[in-house]
């Protein structure tokens, strides 16, 4: 038969466990607004019974564990979409800055192309007029300047993006170090059977932050996590973090290295992926198209110049300094070769009044000079592509943001703290605590009765 002391011990276990459960509820309520916090629930199990033959008596209750309620699949989806959001956010931001170079203004490339051909058209009305000739030189100079400005702005933007990439690498290294530290804390606690929920939440939050910066694959390894980039470059293994490094390449931009391997082209997602995409693909592509346009236009004008005669009756010389044969850097280096307006070869036969060559030069404005398109149409194509890419990146960013929001809502319905539920739990634990206390009072009374039995009898 069970003793009063055993009953007292059983009631005491109830008191302690309800107190512990109340502590879990208190912690949940305190963290109701903590980002990334997963609600915790106490896991209660009945203590091992004792057998006093022929009967078996329970010995109370034990708080076996405090479990965090999470959904790993939802967490993984959030990380994936956060990567996409980071990528498109960086890309959209970069392309919106690029777009500024192509906004219609009084001195954008498109306007200057029109102004240049208009000035030639005017010259053809009176080829001997020096002021009209000067007008052509001024328009040519403005055109060259607009190309130079746009190309230089793009180069500057590339440098800014390069700096941003280096800073992002620094942030990634800080986070991977933090995650490795959290891996150690989680592992240490779980190895001794303790609840590591708080550290797991902190680690999940840090991984989400890391996902916004770079593409991350999360691989559970025992009590810890292994993190790699999507292409397998290690970031964190257990309690060890692997730093990414940067190294300047021949173009003066920084490449990203992991364990001595260049992984720049393998980073495709997260803020770093978006920044690298803008730096290494989008902007170089636009610069290349500008170079094609500048080189095509300059070469075509120079060819027509060479076929005509200037005001002195001499064969025409280059109006623009010849662009590099490869075309690379043509937009940045485009410049006018002559300063004397009489050297413009407007005449087709060497006579002063001839405007045949000026008309031929004007005709270039509608000829398919560059990739079977007129200069203005080719430029319009560049503007359209930049705008289209920026709008697409912006739409992708918004879509990722909406999906992340949707997934977060789903996750918070699983892991979030419900104050109503916690209030109900609190009442439940309080009642149980009071009941256990009442049992102890009753046992105390019984003890008193037993101790004073002899006195009472007398």
């Amino acid at each position: 038969m069970s003793s009063l002391n055993a009953s007292l011990s059983t009631a005491l276990s109830g008191l302690l466990v309800e107190q512990g459960a109340l502590q879990v509820t208190t912690n949940n309520v305190a963290n109701v607004n903590t980002p990334g916090y997963s609600r915790e629930v106490p896991v209660l199990v009945s203590s091992d019974p004792v057998v006093v033959s022929p009967l078996t008596f329970g010995t109370g209750v034990t708080l076996q564990d405090v479990q965090s309620i999470t959904d790993p699949i939802l967490s993984s989806q959030i990380q994936q979409q956060t990567q996409a959001q980071g990528q498109y956010s960086a890309l959209a931001s970069a392309l919106q800055q690029t777009q500024v170079n192509f906004t219609t203004s009084s001195n954008d490339i498109g306007t200057e192309i029109s102004n240049f051909f208009d000035s030639i058209n005017q010259l053809s009305t009176d080829p001997s007029d020096l002021s009209l000739r000067q007008g052509v030189l001024t328009a040519a100079d403005n055109l060259a300047t607009s190309f130079n400005t746009a190309a230089n702005n793009l180069t500057q933007q590339q440098s800014s993006l390069d700096l941003s990439a280096v800073q992002t690498v620094g942030q990634i290294n800080q986070l991977t170090q933090q995650i490795a530290g959290l891996n150690a804390q989680v592992s240490n606690l779980q190895n001794v059977g303790e609840n590591a929920g708080t550290f797991v939440d902190q680690r999940t939050e840090a991984i989400n932050q890391l996902s916004a910066l770079v593409d991350v694959s999360v691989i559970p390894t025992g009590n810890t996590l292994t993190l790699t980039t999507a292409n397998g470059a290690p970031l964190v293994t257990g309690q060890e973090s692997f730093q990414l490094t940067t190294q300047t390449n021949s173009a003066g931009l920084h490449d990203i290295y992991s364990q001595g391997n260049d992984i720049t082209s393998e980073i495709t997602s997260g803020q770093l992926g978006g920044t690298l995409q803008a730096r290494d693909q989008e902007i170089p592509s636009i610069k290349s198209q500008l170079d094609t346009l500048a080189a095509g236009l300059a070469n075509a004008v120079n060819t027509v110049q060479a076929g005509g005669y200037d005001l002195n009756g001499d064969a025409g010389t280059n109006l623009f300094n010849p662009p590099p044969a490869s075309g690379v850097g043509a937009a940045a280096s485009l410049s006018v070769a002559i300063t004397d307006p009489s050297l413009i070869a407007a005449s087709s036969d060497g006579t002063v009044g001839s405007n045949g060559n000026a008309q031929a030069m004007y005709a270039l404005s509608s000829q398919p000079l560059i990739n079977s398109q007129s200069p203005s149409n080719y430029y319009s194509g560049i503007v359209f592509n930049v705008g289209n890419d920026a709008a697409n990146a912006s739409a992708e960013e918004s879509a990722s943001s909406l999906v992340v929001q949707q997934l977060n809502d789903q996750l918070s319905s699983v892991s979030g703290v419900s104050l109503d539920e916690e209030a109900a739990n609190m009442v439940q634990y309080q009642d149980a605590y009071q009941a256990s206390a009442q049992v102890i009072t009753t046992i105390n009374d019984m003890m008193y009765t037993v101790i004073n039995m002899d006195t009472l009898t007398v």
Partner: protein
């Protein structure tokens, strides 16, 4: 909140139904663009809420509106009032932005469906890369998968 937003994007002072064949093409077009934009926002909400019936309904709506817009454009829009023209341009830009966003969301939903389809297919089916499965999913099966979401 949503009702207010939809009311704001629908062209406020022209009703398409009120405009008969003899109506001004530009205001008609503007009104249709407003309705199309509102419909695209509705589609977005339906897609995020996994409301298949809503997606279907809005898609039908958009198809009908696209037909009406095409008919109006076929008649030709006379460029008249500058303000109205600018309003039409802005409305067109908003429709385009809403369309791009919807396309991006659909691409994400499609990817999720492919993952679910792979999961539902079970281990007996050979795994194929996602790109290979493009268009390989039967419509009925897609419907079944969507209804499970």
């Amino acid at each position: 909140m949503e009702a207010n937003f939809e009311a704001a994007v629908v062209f406020p002072f022209h009703s398409v139904e009120a405009l008969k064949d003899g109506g001004e093409p530009m205001p008609t077009c503007l009104a249709l663009f407003g309705q199309l934009e509102a419909s695209l926002h509705g589609s977005r909400k339906a897609l995020l809420a996994r409301n298949l019936a809503g997606i279907e309904q809005r898609t039908q709506e958009q198809r009908a509106l696209a037909g009406k817009i095409e008919a109006v454009l076929r008649k030709g829009i006379v460029s008249s009032a500058g303000g109205l023209q600018e309003e039409l341009r802005q409305s067109g830009k908003r429709v385009l932005a809403a369309g791009r966003l919807q396309a991006a969301l659909l691409a994400r939903a499609r990817l999720k469906l492919r993952v679910l389809a792979n999961m539902l297919a079970g281990p007996s089916v050979n795994y194929e890369p996602i790109s290979e499965r493009d268009g390989a999913m039967a419509p009925l099966r897609v419907f079944k998968v969507v209804s499970k979401l």
